[in-house]
């Protein structure tokens, strides 16, 4: 083992010890700490933590029969001091209260609906006291909830039954959520815990008091400066996530929350996509979500090409809508929208908002390039260019030239382009042939004219000569 890796592993062990101190103290405080939360918070030490918790559980299990009555290692005798607001006992996991529904391994939509109604049976979910429904979407329902142990307000998103069909999907969802849970950034809604409660997959995250960018944009477009600032902030957060190897893949205004201080916070990292599955469009004929902000490589199901530039595209689409009042592509149906995303150039935002500055338009259109390689390569580059724009400095992005546009059009419409090219070639050929023929004819005509006049001249000369000759003969006769 090399010295550095020996140092690394010693360092890991030290960190692990610190985490365990925090864990043991939480146990001592009588709060029965959430092991998953500890694991989720330290994904790089997940294996070690899981191992410790497993060993610990085994040890407690073996000690149980010989423990003097009234003692328990997992719940030290310490009383719950300093937390008088804790209502339910932490030893009892509060559950779906009805026995018929608690037997059901995962919640049906009806259960969730019930849950949302005031005064109905589902008040507690695991360690959470559900307070109010915040949002409801294709993938599940978000509740404002109180985490009982820590007495803090969080948002809990429950995945609707049936969204994660196989255990493999559940596993992938969880690993994705765990990756997202390691993101800690002021402009990213933090995930606290990913778990399942009686088979019901859920995750808990920061509760953001405020609204979403989508709701804000429904009211009115943003000013150029507001829009550029918001998207710059979001792009910086996305860059941070990319640096941790996490792509968002579903950036859209409804996934950008605006908190009480008007700061944007990105939510739903990588999760919505995982849950909605590979097929974006239909699930038994239903249309899920909107492809308006989706890059062509994603809309075309060409998943291999999805990368940081895919999120850059979506950032550009958000910026487009923020200043132009509508997303770059929006058609009657999702399928038509997808076709536009794949084929059409977006309408120049300055046509929709003539007051928009040319530089910001250039930045937006660079993000919306069909080929990922033509966009900003990283979210950071976009953030930097937006910052330059905000500072009034020259931006790095260049507008696309007319020739480039024409060439791209041909690339996207090869049949029309090649037919047009053939017609053009035919025209050119005919023109050239005509021109040559004309020149040849004209030349010949000239020559003929010259020859004619020569001939006339010669004839004139001949007549003259003949006349002279006759005159000479007359003189000879007279002489």
């Amino acid at each position: 083992m090399s010295q550095s890796s020996a140092g690394d592993s010693a360092d890991r062990e030290r960190r692990l010890d610190e985490i365990l101190v925090a864990y043991l103290r939480a146990e001592d405080a009588g709060v029965r700490p959430d092991k998953n939360e500890f694991i989720a918070r330290h994904p790089d030490l997940a294996a070690e933590l899981e191992e410790y918790f497993r060993d610990q559980a085994e040890l407690n299990d073996r000690v149980e029969p010989i423990r003097p009555t009234g003692q328990s290692a997992t719940e030290p005798a310490a009383d719950f001091v300093g937390e008088p607001t804790i209502v339910p006992s932490p030893t009892v996991l509060m559950d779906v209260v009805d026995s018929d529904s608690s037997a059901d391994p995962s919640m049906s939509e009806d259960d969730l609906l019930q849950a949302a109604l005031p005064g109905t049976r589902l008040r507690y979910f695991g360690n959470y006291e559900l307070l109010a429904e915040i949002a409801r979407g294709g993938m599940g329902v978000v509740f404002k909830a109180r985490q009982v142990k820590l007495n803090r307000i969080v948002a809990v998103k429950m995945i609707l039954a049936g969204q994660l069909a196989s255990s493999e999907e559940v596993r992938r969802f969880r690993s994705e959520a765990e990756a997202a849970a390691q993101l800690q950034h002021p402009n990213i809604v933090g995930i606290h815990e990913v778990g399942d409660h009686q088979g019901q997959q859920y995750f808990s995250m920061d509760f953001v008091e405020g609204t979403s960018l989508a709701a804000l944009l429904r009211e009115h477009p943003l000013s150029e400066k507001q829009a550029a600032e918001s998207v710059r902030t979001i792009a910086a957060a996305i860059q941070y996530a990319h640096s941790k190897g996490v792509l968002h893949r579903d950036l859209k205004p409804s996934n950008v929350l605006i908190d009480a201080n008007q700061q944007p916070k990105v939510t739903d990292f990588g999760l919505a996509k995982r849950i909605e599955g590979g097929s974006e469009l239909t699930r038994s004929g239903q249309i899920l979500g909107t492809p308006s902000y989706m890059p062509p490589e994603q809309a075309g199901a060409n998943h291999g090409a999805i990368g940081p530039a895919s999120d850059v595209y979506s950032l550009g689409a958000i910026l487009y809508e923020a200043v132009a009042g509508r997303p770059p592509f929006r058609a009657e149906t999702a399928l038509e929208t997808v076709m536009q995303v794949l084929k059409a150039e977006p309408v120049a935002p300055r046509l929709l908002n003539p007051k928009l500055s040319r530089d910001l338009e250039t930045i937006i259109l660079k993000c919306l390039q069909k080929a990922p390689s033509s966009r900003y390569r990283t979210a950071q580059e976009l953030a930097d260019d937006l910052q330059r724009f905000l500072n009034g400095e020259p931006i790095l992005a260049r507008p696309v030239s007319a020739a480039e546009r024409a060439w791209r059009w041909c690339r996207r419409n090869p049949v029309v382009a090649s037919l047009s090219a053939a017609v053009a070639m035919a025209l050119i050929t005919v023109t050239c042939v005509s021109l040559v023929a004309y020149a040849l004819t004209k030349d010949a005509l000239g020559k003929m004219t010259v020859a004619k006049s020569d001939a006339q001249e010669q004839r004139g000369k001949a007549v003259q000569l003949a006349a002279d000759k006759a005159k000479l003969a007359d003189q000879e006769k007279t002489a």
Partner: protein
């Protein structure tokens, strides 16, 4: 160990660590300095040898239960002896209380042992393995684990007892559980 051709022969020695752990758990905290658990266990094992012919059981579980009952009686005797001795050697007021506490706890224990349901045997067998494995751990690791998991001490109490920092104790617990898993694996 038990087969039809050969009568069950109690192997009491392998329960020494298990009995030590039990004795330690059931003697009150304050009395631990005054009452030598290993003495009581030694006494119990000697009794077991001497009274082997009275043992009617045919399994390890029953043997463990039998040993536990004898241990409980011996611990109770030792605490009573301590109560008599304190008049001569010690005037600590707290000791009175400690003995009283211990006595009542041991009475509960005795009562529980005498009515111990047979399905508990399997679980006691696993606890006995644990005790055996614990005994093979380095002293500080075993100490930390017993304090934490058997006696339910808080992290700060363990730090005080072992005179170590919280992270050092966490490290002991961590390494202890790892080692313990290996040892249990070998035993199984």
């Amino acid at each position: 160990m038990s087969s039809e051709s050969e009568p069950f022969r109690p192997q009491v020695e392998r329960y020494r660590e298990y009995l030590l752990l039990l004795a330690r758990l059931h003697v009150g905290e304050q009395l631990r300095g005054k009452l030598d658990a290993s003495d009581v266990v030694q006494q119990t094992l000697l009794d077991a040898h001497r009274q082997q012919q009275h043992f009617r059981g045919t399994s390890d579980g029953e043997l463990a239960a039998w040993l536990r009952q004898m241990l409980a009686c011996n611990v109770a005797d030792a605490v009573r002896a301590l109560g008599r001795a304190k008049r001569d050697v010690s005037r600590e007021r707290s000791l009175d209380q400690a003995i009283e506490e211990s006595s009542s706890r041991i009475e509960q224990w005795l009562a529980a042992e005498q009515s111990s349901p047979s399905q508990q045997m399997q679980r006691h067998e696993r606890a006995a393995q644990l005790a055996e494995a614990l005994a093979k751990l380095p002293e500080p690791q075993r100490e930390a684990l017993v304090l934490r998991h058997c006696q339910g001490c808080s992290l700060d109490e363990i730090c005080q007892r072992l005179d170590r920092s919280p992270s050092a104790v966490a490290s002991l617990l961590k390494r202890g559980t790892r080692k313990l898993r290996e040892l249990l694996h070998e035993l199984e």
